[in-house]
């Protein structure tokens, strides 16, 4: 897709202009809700780089990462079992469909009451909430593997292990990644929610605390950081996906072109 010079210029200039406008329009602001952009950025640097970096930023990110990895591994594993063992699938189907409809954030109070306010609660909440999208996508991905591929693996007498690891898993990976992307979003949201509801540490907790103490610039700094983290985490995921699914992306592009 050729992007013309003109579009490049527009694409870069527009957000830059927006930021500049924000800066100048808010420069002398005494509005308690919308402090000057400059103040926000100053507080951003003071808070996150590096005073609270280790105690809060790394903490939040660590929980996010740990919870997501657990959810991904468990989701894929459980998804495989559910997809391949029919009785398990029949038993779990209604339960899963019911549980997936519950807003993940609503599970946090339950975990608080069961596990308390510590790190375990947060990681557990993240992991359990993020489990479902990946598990469901894994089941869908495996069940929709083309019958022809399965016939090929039988005709050439692939062993069961080969069939699962070398045919089913790669074939289901595009769909698994779709599930992982949703899981990542859910993990991010629950990370923030679990901190806002039951913690004094972490970016979410600090942001809420700032809001409740009317330290508006600090609150904005927290929101900004969360937004940036959400954006960056997604970019990292997209890069990973492009690497792992290069074959899929390539073949889809060709299919669309024909």
């Amino acid at each position: 897709m050729r992007i013309t010079m003109r579009n490049w210029v527009i694409g870069v200039a527009a957000p830059v202009l927006l930021l500049v406008a924000w800066w100048f329009l808010s420069a002398d602001s005494t509005d308690p809700f919308f402090p000057p952009l400059q103040t926000i950025l100053v507080r951003f640097q003071e808070l996150w780089l590096f005073e609270h970096f280790q105690s809060d930023v790394l903490l939040s990110l660590g929980n996010l990462f740990l919870g997501f990895v657990i959810a991904a591994a468990a989701g894929i594993a459980l998804g495989f079992i559910t997809a391949l063992v029919a009785p398990v699938r029949w038993m779990l189907d209604p339960l899963i469909h019911f549980l997936r409809g519950i807003p993940p954030v609503a599970l946090v109070p339950i975990f608080i009451s069961l596990i308390g306010f510590g790190t375990q609660m947060r990681v557990t909440s993240i992991a359990l909430a993020a489990l479902f999208p990946t598990m469901i996508a894994t089941v869908d991905g495996i069940r929709s593997v083309s019958n022809d591929l399965l016939d090929v693996s039988r005709v050439y007498r692939l062993t069961r292990k080969e069939r699962v690891l070398k045919v089913l898993l790669p074939a289901a990976t595009p769909q698994i990644f779709s599930g992982l992307q949703v899981s990542l979003q859910v993990a991010f949201i629950v990370m923030i929610a679990s901190e806002m509801l039951g913690s004094s540490q972490g970016i979410g907790a600090m942001t809420l605390l700032a809001q409740q103490s009317f330290m508006t610039a600090d609150m904005w700094a927290g929101i900004l950081l969360l937004g940036v983290i959400g954006f960056l985490v997604n970019i990292l995921f997209s890069l990973l996906r492009r690497r792992v699914l290069s074959w899929y992306i390539g073949s889809r592009r060709l299919a669309r072109a024909s």
């Binding site: 038993m91 809001q211 937004g227």
Partner: protein, 258 residues
């Protein structure tokens, strides 16, 4: 047992088994009083369903979600048509949209609560923030996917640009918009609950927070179950609505079995 009945039998066993395990764990006081027995929860739920406050709360949740959904749909389609039809607009907004895409509403929750307080307006703002962007982006996809032949045919019949937009572009973008709505509707419900739970907005979210804070664990679990059922109903309703509106589109035509 007949093969066709077996899945349902297993499903029933699965649900029943889960309830039994729940009951046993609760009575063994595995988590102290935090895990109330299933029987208590359902009894409490029955009581709650008899109160007026529950139904007005439920109404508030559904009302806010639907209203926000409608607002997002109207604004989203309008913005999407604009962005999709004019290349310069598309590139000007590209950076901002791509940055906001992975940012969930919970990130701006502190700001919304600060400015609007724990009100229905705050909830509305949050839900619109969450639903607007996917609708815009899908509308843009739909506009850009309009069959150029259809567009040229309309132009050769002397239709003006506005008419083409309304009579050709919009209908052909409908499936995309439909998909966005199908995804946005449950999201609207979820964000409404989050706004209530974390921000104090009206509705079931707030009730859940109060139940947990007051130690009313049976009520807490009961409300979560209500949310699960509500989620299922929302999913089903949106699917029905989509089918009704888009029954003419290709993806819904019966495919001839080979």
């Amino acid at each position: 047992m007949k093969a066709s009945v077996r899945p349902y039998a297993f499903s029933i066993v699965g649900v029943a088994g889960a309830l039994v395990i729940w009951q046993l764990l609760a009575e063994a006081k595995v988590a102290g009083t935090a895990l109330p027995p299933a029987t208590t929860v359902f009894a409490t739920l029955a009581t709650i369903l008899g109160t007026g406050t529950f139904w007005s709360s439920l109404g508030a949740t559904i009302g806010i979600a639907l209203l926000a959904l409608a607002l997002s749909a109207v604004a989203g389609v309008a913005i999407g048509l604009l962005v999709g039809s004019f290349e310069s607009v598309k590139y000007a907004t590209l950076a901002v949209l791509e940055f906001l895409k992975p940012v969930p509403p919970i990130v701006i929750l502190p700001l919304a609560v600060l400015v609007l307080g724990p009100t229905a307006e705050m909830s509305l703002l949050l839900v619109v923030f969450g639903c607007l962007l996917p609708i815009v982006m899908q509308t843009v996809d739909g506009v850009q996917g309009t069959d150029p032949v259809a567009r040229d045919t309309a132009r050769s019949y002397g239709m003006g640009e506005g008419e083409i937009l309304a009579r050709v572009v919009l209908p052909s973008a409908m499936p995309y918009i439909g998909t966005a709505m199908r995804v946005a509707a449950p999201a609207a419900l979820v964000v409404t609950v989050v706004a209530g739970l974390l921000g104090g907005g009206p509705g079931l979210g707030q009730n859940i927070y109060q139940a947990q804070a007051a130690g009313d664990y049976a009520g807490l679990y009961g409300l979560v179950i209500v949310l699960g059922v509500l989620g299922l109903l929302f999913q089903g309703a949106t699917r029905l609505a989509e089918r009704r509106v888009l029954h003419w589109h290709e993806s819904y035509r019966e495919v001839e079995p080979r």
